[in-house]
Amino acid sequence: MPSIVRSLVLITVGCLAGILLGLTLHKRAQSPAAPQAVTTLSILAPSSGVRIWYSAHNYSQLSLPGGRKEVVRSVLNITKPMHFGSFVWDEDRIPKGPVWVRIDLSRQLLSVFRSGHEIGSAVILYGMNRKPTPTGSFTILEKNPDYYSHSYDAPMPYMLRLTNDGVAIHGSNVREGRGSHGCIGIPLDFARLLFAAASKGDLVVILPA
């Protein structure tokens, strides 16, 4: 084969190989995990996408009790007030990593973060005055998908125990005007997703009302 033709062939093959490799790496970087089924609400702004990304040079931070700070790389782009019983969950293209939960009693919101990205948010129920929900930092002590409270004769589906005296996050019929005996109530479908994403030992932060 003439040398010029051989050079041309080598150059072409090299370019094609490089382009294929680049496309493969780019695809892998965009979707590290298998796409998950998501349930979102139409309150998400379609023009800006599902989430708001912070630039790598300007990651935001959230303060936790005790002076600790957690880095936030992206949050869900929810532009309207959420309703009781509604939730948003999106973990598409979010890498695996440590999970932590932020519960804000004053705003009646729960946010789930994974690898610094918010993957879920829901309106919550929390403890009434006679049985207030404790505040501070906790870890998930136990997971039980079908727990039944013998103390209160009530089911606690997808239970994530936070304290040894019965405070937990669990699925509930979240409606305005309801309260719990200290537990954090979240919509049942959201509880199922949170139960699958969280693990024993994950951090849960509860901020006061």
């Binding site: 010029i4 041309l8 150059i11 093959v13 090299g14 370019c15 190989a17 382009i19 490799l21 680049g22 780019h26 965009q30 998501v38 349930t39 979102t40 609400l41 139409s42 379609p46 996408g49 599902v50 708001i52 990304w53 630039s55 935001s60 949050v75 782009n77 929810i78 532009t79 309207k80 007030p81 959420m82 309703h83 019983g85 598409d92 804000d104 705003r107 009646q108 919101l109 946010s111 918010e118 948010s121 309106v123 129920l125 009434m128 013998h150 103390s151 209160y152 009530a154 089911p155 699925g171 509930s172 019929n173 409606r175 305005e176 005007g177 309801r178 309260g179 719990s180 005996h181 479908d189």
Partner: protein, 204 residues
């Protein structure tokens, strides 16, 4: 060949970065991202709970050690009382529905009352919605038929507006490939570089 592969990699990187769709979304998101997370959380919050009469999501029985303590179960006026009058097991078996369907009157879901009060079937001569021709007397003695099942809120009737919970999927990722002319230009350029190197390396 290695240089060509590297050139291809760089080319892909430039194409992805210059994707116009990515730039448009990125600019919009950068503008929105100037808000910190706390501000965004405040926007989505339904607000504080405030001081109000709250209904417990737990049952009316609170068990302390071996003592069962009964608490008065306060039901604010205007709410459906059947949910709280049912046993905890029946409450647990009620399927989850969007909040706006919990308050619909039962007769819009299950028909007029005679359907609910005659689990064994509507007596002959009694037409739902029409006044009975003969007085309807309650059955005398203990019930002999099957137990009356608890009234369970089911899915909304057809034609009911669907709540805003339409799943949204992210837009599909489009891969931008260069035009054939771009391909040809790139290959010819690399060919020219290789040819020039060959010419220089040949002894005069």
């Amino acid at each position: 060949m290695l240089a060509s592969a590297l050139a291809g990699l760089v080319f892909v990187g430039v194409v992805e970065y210059c994707d116009p769709a990515f730039s448009k979304v990125a600019m919009a998101e950068i503008g929105a991202a100037l808000e910190d997370p706390l501000t965004l959380f405040a926007e989505r919050s339904p607000g504080g709970r405030g001081a109000r009469v709250l209904i417990s999501i737990k049952g009316p029985h609170e068990r302390v050690l071996s003592t069962v303590r009964e608490r008065p179960h306060v039901i604010p006026p205007g709410l459906d009382s059947f949910v709280f009058a049912a046993a905890p097991e029946a409450v647990a078996s009620i399927p989850m529905v969007p909040p706006q369907y919990d308050t619909q009157p039962l007769d819009r879901i299950f028909g007029p009352p005679p359907f609910a009060f005659f689990p064994g079937g509507i007596p002959q001569g009694l037409v739902p919605g029409a006044p009975p021709s003969t007085p309807i007397l309650p059955p005398i003695g203990p019930p002999t038929g099957p137990d009356i099942p608890p009234i369970i809120v089911g899915p909304p009737p057809p034609g009911t507006p669907v709540p805003p919970s339409v799943p949204e999927t992210p837009p599909p990722v489009t891969i931008v490939l260069p035009e054939p002319a771009t391909w040809a230009t790139m290959i010819l350029g690399l060919f020219a570089i290789g040819l020039r190197r060959r010419v220089r390396s040949r002894p005069a």
